[in-house]
């Protein structure tokens, strides 16, 4: 099981290590800065020998949003001991004659990086390849570990992209990148609000996912339009990558045919609203969610922090509470702030109020690691390489 957890927060990146049965913060990076996302890429850099002398394999990439000074990416190849700035994804020049405007708002489309919203390593045999999803909706690819980024023009130039709109943010964004573990040119993206998009050829061509997602925030005529859905996160089962789970703005959906069709999971208590979902790495029928009161309130039901787990493909859920606060707790868990390790037994999640919990038994019980971190945006276990 993973022995290291990275936690991206409003005021820096925190690294926790497990020693014996205890977790403790062993490193802080970028303290005081807004660290919005962290990714661990387990693939060895420059061959296995180069990093043999350290336990750490691969690289970490952290996204910082400096507000006034813009969004930056930094990389560490020594487990976070040192960091170096790397390339920042850059949108191409906006054509002077580009006329389309955002649907509904009618505002001009943004053509500049607003946020790095997703990061994912490429396949095991695609050395250096990284994917980066952004606000306002552009996808970028790097083939040199993040030194340089190439804008995916095909997706951006698809006319259906101009139907996307913001969900939570003022502009649309790509928050989920599910890379097929054994066929890494096959990607499924999650986009708010643009549904799920699929490529089978490494980004050369794209199509919007099949039907089944439902948007109750749209007029009835558009409710089942796949291109205006608001999946808050798309999570993939590593061992069965045709199985995808979606925590959506107004429900939970599942696909067992790699986004060709989606099935809504009904009657989820206490709520089908939330942001985060974690898919079991081996069992396609198991997933975890952190429910909240929809969407105008965004607090836990009854002031009780709970995790919902299904082990039968969504037919039933068990609401897990042991070790979680059950009175006057108002923690909200953002979409990237729940993670499961490669075993499927160890999970962690963090909240907007700076609480961090870990489970060692698939969510049956939880242990508080901190109640006073800065607002947590993302948690990320260091995981081993999945051979492709």
């Amino acid at each position: 099981m993973s022995q290291r957890l990275h936690v991206a927060t409003r005021k820096g990146l925190f690294t926790l290590d497990r020693h014996g049965a205890r977790w403790s913060i062993t490193r802080t990076s970028f303290l005081g800065d807004n660290c919005t996302l962290v990714m661990h890429d387990p693939r060895p850099i420059g061959g296995r020998t180069r990093q043999r002398r350290t336990k750490f394999s691969g690289q970490l990439v952290a996204a910082l949003d400096h507000g006034h000074f813009g969004v930056k990416l930094h990389r560490s190849r020594d487990g976070g001991a040192t960091w170096q700035p790397i390339g920042t994804p850059a949108y191409p020049p906006k054509p002077a004659d580009y006329k389309p405007r955002m649907p509904a708002e009618g505002a001009p489309y943004e053509w500049a990086l607003k946020r790095v919203w997703s990061l994912a390593p490429g396949g095991a045999h695609q050395p250096g390849r990284l994917w980066c999803g952004t606000l306002p909706g552009g996808l970028f690819r790097s083939d040199d570990h993040g030194d340089n980024w190439e804008f995916n023009r095909t997706l951006w130039d698809d006319p259906k992209r101009e139907e996307w709109f913001g969900g939570g943010a003022e502009v649309p964004g790509i928050h989920s990148i599910c890379v097929h573990p054994t066929d890494p040119d096959r990607l499924v993206l999650g986009i708010s609000c643009g549904g799920a998009w699929i490529t089978e050829d490494g980004g050369g061509s794209w199509r919007c996912s099949g039907p089944g997602m439902r948007a109750e925030y749209m007029p009835a005529e558009r409710a089942f339009d796949p291109n205006i859905q608001d999946p808050h996160l798309v999570a993939q089962c590593t061992a069965h990558p045709d199985t995808l789970w979606v925590q959506h703005h107004n429900g939970i959906f599942r696909s067992t045919d790699r986004a060709a069709h989606w099935t809504e999971i009904q009657n989820v208590k206490p709520s089908a609203f939330g942001f985060a979902v974690a898919a079991h790495p081996k069992d396609p029928d198991t997933a975890w969610f952190v429910p909240a009161i929809k969407d105008e309130k965004r607090i836990p039901f009854g002031g009780r922090v709970v995790v919902n787990r299904t082990t039968n493909g969504g037919r039933t859920f068990k609401t897990l509470t042991r070790g979680l606060p059950q009175k006057h707790a108002y923690d909200l868990v953002f979409r990237h702030a729940l993670d499961v390790d490669e075993s499927g037994d160890r999970l962690a999640f963090g909240s907007t109020t700076g609480s961090l919990w870990v489970s060692e038994n698939g969510g049956d019980s939880w242990k508080s690691l901190s109640q006073h971190l800065p607002p947590i945006y993302a948690v990320c276990f260091e995981k081993p390489l999945v051979a492709g």
Partner: protein, 89 residues
């Protein structure tokens, strides 16, 4: 040559030492400054070449009038200050 100075807050991210730079407008002067410090450009301008929303530029204590084109003239003895706008919080 005009003196270009940056807010102290940017210095912990990227070095931007004060320098004297020649040019008729703010845009010309900053382009010349950043030719020798490309990393810093990204902290002040976005990839479309637009001044970041919450950055502000003053010429001899007066805010620039042309935030998009940065065509405001600068006298050879002028001082350009690049600071954070309070609009950013």
């Amino acid at each position: 040559m005009a003196l270009v100075r940056f807010t102290q807050n940017i210095q912990r991210h990227v070095a931007c030492p004060p320098r004297n730079v020649e040019g008729p407008t703010v845009r010309d002067i900053l382009n010349a400054y950043f030719r020798g410090n490309a990393l810093a450009r990204d902290y002040v301008f976005d990839e479309q070449g637009q001044l970041r929303r919450h950055m502000a530029i003053f010429i001899d204590g007066e805010p620039v009038l042309d935030r998009r084109g940065l065509a405001d003239p600068v006298s050879p003895a002028g001082t350009i200050d690049i600071v954070q706008a309070l609009s950013g919080g």
